[in-house]
Amino acid sequence: MSTLTDLRIAAVGDIHLGPEVRGEYRKRLHGIEDRADVLMLAGDLTRHGTLEEGRLVADELRDLPVTTVAVLGNHDYHSNQQEAIVGVLRDAGVIVLEDDGVVIQCGGTKLGVVGGKGFGGGFAGKCASEFGEPEIKNFVAHTRSIAEAWKVALKEMDADRRVVLSHYSPVKETLHGEPLEIYPFLGSYLLAEAVDTAGAELILHGHAHKGSEKGLTPGGIRVRNVALPVIGKAYAVYCLD
């Protein structure tokens, strides 16, 4: 049973909506206000990242009875329409994080959410570094700048509880089930390091369809992979007691 002080976070990633499932996901959100205080979407909302799909996602999420926060995923960037997709989602009442944060008033509690797409690079001891060709340097620098932005946003945020929302994974535990060879494309330890430094209670991510739900950062922050194929339901609910 939830108490009045609990924060109930519904979360899902990788819903990959397309025209033939129009209206189906929305049906699964019926009654969400009885189960959760906020809905968080961990990226890959579309299949090809077209504006048409972005509008479809916006319609599915429009004016939900709970505050809805989303980040984009790599699929949502594929057609180079990411800014337009962010626009239609915001018009539908969805808060979209782009390496920044938002504070949501949930009853008497201020819930701070920081996040964005995140990026890859791999995990400590087995990762890319800013060395060699400019393409590799740019790859790692992209992740590094995202991690830095999250750290600053978390530190500057005036909130009672803090949660991080990402598409890429901050740890490898939640990738368990994926081929080891592709781990560097699934996430980066730099994301976990930033959140461990600044502090948060929970990190939510998607992206790794064959991964596992539960993991932990080196600093002891709970990580949950909420990719739809991993959780196998419309959304998972996590209660911050």
Partner: protein, 82 residues
């Protein structure tokens, strides 16, 4: 003759890059003239499209489409993080 590993890699690349599918997580195995597709997708149409793109990429192989459609069920039990 092209080594089966390269055929499988080419099919996997087609499934990821073809505008009809853009599916990154499909496991592709080639054994002789048999092609096996495994993984999970969110709808049966996507499963059929993946089979079609794989077939077009390697028309001489017999496609065994073992991709599973994930059934999105109602939200279940909450997890308490205390």
């Amino acid at each position: 003759m092209e080594a089966p590993q390269y055929v499988a890699a080419r099919i996997q690349q087609a499934l990821a890059e073809d505008a009809r599918t853009h599916e990154l997580g499909i496991h592709v195995d080639v054994r002789g003239d048999q092609l096996f597709l495994r993984g999970q997708v969110s709808g049966s149409e996507q499963r059929e499209r993946l089979g079609q793109v794989a077939h077009e990429t390697a028309p001489d192989l017999k496609v065994h489409n073992e991709i599973k459609v994930v059934d999105v069920s109602e939200p279940g039990e909450d997890e308490h993080l205390d």
